[in-house]
Symmetry: C2
Subunit: 476 residues, 2 copies
């Protein structure tokens, strides 16, 4: 779970060794920490022709306490800022050797008005001038349209092209800088997605495309406690990523119902008690001991949750691996992985939805995996189950929309856990370094992404698969 190489290259001696012999130099990622400002610094704004999001973007940045500077591609930003009484100025490209205080925290490009490939030139102008000015662990966000919702083939083409740009920028930026694309339907609320992708909470999310629809959004009264008053079921909550999810949801104000198997009861109890210790004002959380694969599990779980008045959030995190190549895999290894990771989720959700245990306006978030996207040697069972999880999410979007319920998946890449700590060193090092952050992610990175998708601000985000992989090289 400890990345000794990361520590080494971030020591003065290690850094000079790494530089001189050309080793990867992963940055210690800035993550959110209690008592440290979540947002600060300057955002540089660029735009293509006819940008549409300056007003909500300016309102958001002002609300976050960030200032802005406008690149020459976005000079229309300045009158908007003036009208709102916000400080702004022109972006000046950083001269070589300039002091770090010339740096900006974020580059934000409004590409929503781009309707032809020739207009992509504006992206070149902005990122050519500005990319060297981004601080370490800074953020690149491109705002565009969903290609298939464009009315002309030329607009669809140009909007689809943005993916190639955003992903390439993520591979060039280095220094813990992430690069993501948000596809905004006209009139959609951008705050939920943009806050997250600008925040240190999204430290390990890069190279992703997030789509926001026009579902009306109720912004949380307190952005630090967006889940206040919500009840959240987390399966597999005893340890690892599940425990991190429980912690982050509790930190955001949720009452957590942690579920795990009987064998993990002690660890589960400790995890749940630790939540109470850390956030005493919220009182005790709830532990449910059950094997989700048992035939009676859906009934048992639904009954327990109904007795509390139902829930608002379901996080399907419980999962197992039984790795072997298909030729050597036992039938039991196949069946148990498919059942725990996929079929059990189906049975449980069917009952939670039939009996309205999950409230209208609720959230379902399922944990998929990079293996479900790319396939993996020795994991036919696991990859099949995790590809199925993506299918579940996509298949349920429309039926759940009528009830205001969103359903999304997160797909972790290489995350530092007890599971990955058992991988042989050579493979582990390859897994850690083969991404744009040159390091593995932490369980909290997955948990933050889930907590974000669970928030009221994400009412317009459904059917998305968000990888938490540091923009892993590995994909399909």
């Amino acid at each position: 779970m400890k990345d000794r190489y990361l520590d080494f290259v971030n020591s003065p001696f290690g850094a000079s060794v790494a530089r001189s012999i050309g080793l990867p130099q992963p940055e210690v990622l800035r993550r959110h920490a209690q008592g440290r400002a979540e947002f600060d610094g300057i955002a540089a704004i660029g735009a293509g022709p006819s940008p549409t999001l300056f007003e909500p973007l300016l309102a958001l940045l002002t609300g976050l306490g960030m200032t802005s500077v406008a690149h020459e591609s976005a000079l229309g930003w300045l009158p908007v800022a003036a009208r709102h009484g916000a400080m702004s100025g022109r972006f000046e490209p950083r001269s070589p050797g300039a002091a770090p205080n010339d740096q900006v925290q974020a580059l934000i490009f409004d590409a929503t008005g781009i309707t032809d490939s020739t207009q992509l030139h504006a992206l070149y102008g902005f990122f050519h001038d500005a990319i060297r000015s981004v601080a370490k662990s800074g953020r690149i966000v491109v705002l565009g349209r969903q290609p298939q919702s464009c009315t002309s083939p030329r607009a669809w083409t140009a909007q689809r092209a943005l993916e190639g740009m955003t992903r390439s920028l993520g591979k060039e930026a280095r220094g813990g800088i992430s690069s993501n694309l948000i596809q905004v339907e006209p009139g959609a609320d951008i705050d939920g997605a943009l806050r997250f992708l600008l925040s240190p909470r999204s430290a390990y999310v890069s190279g992703q495309v997030v789509h926001i629809d026009t579902t009306p959004v109720t912004q949380p009264a307190d952005w630090n406690q967006p889940l206040a008053g919500k009840r959240a079921l987390v399966t597999g909550a005893a340890r690892g990523i599940g425990a991190a999810i429980a912690q982050v949801l509790a930190d955001r104000g949720a009452h957590v119902i942690g579920l795990d198997v009987p064998q993990a009861q002690d660890a589960l109890d400790q995890t749940m008690l630790a939540l109470e210790d850390a956030w005493p004002s919220q009182g005790a959380h709830t532990a449910i001991v059950a094997d989700i694969a048992a035939p009676e599990a859906p009934e048992t779980i639904a009954a327990a949750l109904l007795a509390m008045g139902g829930i608002d959030i379901v996080v399907h995190n419980a999962g197992i691996t039984r790795d072997k190549t298909i030729a050597k895999m036992t039938e039991a290894a196949w069946d148990s992985v498919i059942d725990v990771n996929l079929s059990a989720q189906e049975r449980i959700d069917d009952l939670l939805l039939d009996q309205n245990v999950l409230h209208a306006g609720g959230r379902i978030i399922a944990v998929s995996s990079i293996s479900g996207i790319a396939g993996n040697l020795g994991q036919t069972n696991y990859a099949t189950s995790k590809a199925g999880v993506i299918g579940r999410v996509q298949s349920m979007v429309e039926a759940l929309r009528a009830r205001g319920i969103t359903i999304n998946a997160v797909a972790p890449g290489f995350i530092e856990t007890q599971m990955t700590a058992r991988i042989p060193l050579g493979l582990r090092e390859a897994g850690r370094r083969m991404n744009s952050m040159s390091q593995g992610g932490q369980p909290v990175d997955v948990a933050e992404t889930i907590a974000w998708l669970a928030s009221p601000a994400c009412a317009g985000i459904t059917g998305n698969v968000v990888r938490v992989c540091g923009q892993s090289l590995i994909g399909a």
Copy 2:
């Protein structure tokens, strides 16, 4: 362009060195060669519950001269075979140490009837028993349904899960064995897709998902000359992948109109003359010298093609690279790459379609790239253009459907060309080995995939992006 390592590990001495120190052991891929049977050997058949494709599958295999054996999951195959008077038998799992003549050329699994995750078990049974029996350069094909066309969420989920299975099998199989998934709409004609994916012509296509719709198909009178009587425009035809495309299209019977820039005129002329030498019965092919990026190019090209009576196939292969990180990239490098690789295609196709230069029932095939999918360091311009090409393909599907025109993209991975020969050795070796074939592809692999999509048998294949990458590890 020469992979010396591939030659080395396939020598007796090299093979023993590679085995003893654990080096990758790429297989010399079986490719189609004049005078060698394209199809032979045995296909082992597996199936989930309620398979729907036994009849067309049996007819196809019989037509190809292949025999079949039925796995216990597909015992319903035997009466179908008997009804058609086809030889068939039961599949017997290969015992350890059995002679190579126990091997099968292909594993084909009919998963179209799978409607629930619990039924995925049938895939385990078949591939567990059969994967060791596949000969080198053999084929794995799973036949399923398009998830989003399934009526129940459970069926959608299970069908989506097949992707994880197929991709994992591709990573486990080794020995030049490919693994692909075909999503078949009920009633769609499977011959075009299945023939290609069973053939040595698809040597470097693995880990792909191909979707077939129900558009009626006219099967070619001669499967070796499916493009007889067709005229095909190939841009960038002078050298490399473009020249290979011209050769393969000519081999399939097409009259090729090769286009390239004035600077490449000599090479273009030689390429076109070589076609005439190789296939003298087709007479002379046509060279057009033009810079596709020139403002007058669409008119020039359209006029030349109209004078011949129009065309049936357009292959947008011409492309350039001008690699630099965005901070160091010149404006000219950005503009020229976007223009040549993307905007010029748009201008040309608009005119070819407006003036009906491309006949009804025609084919458009555009060359994208792995960089357009995953993004690439130093290629913001190229990756943006190639992501845009994917957008073009997807955006034009519905408008072209009314005219019976299909549009698809191929996305090459690491292909051995003069361009990749200039990559420094270390990077080149990484690029070559980081895929399920442990080697780069050949230009002919891209060309064969394009010729396949151009054929009359592919009337039901449109809007697809087919990677020719040996199932590269790199993806998005």
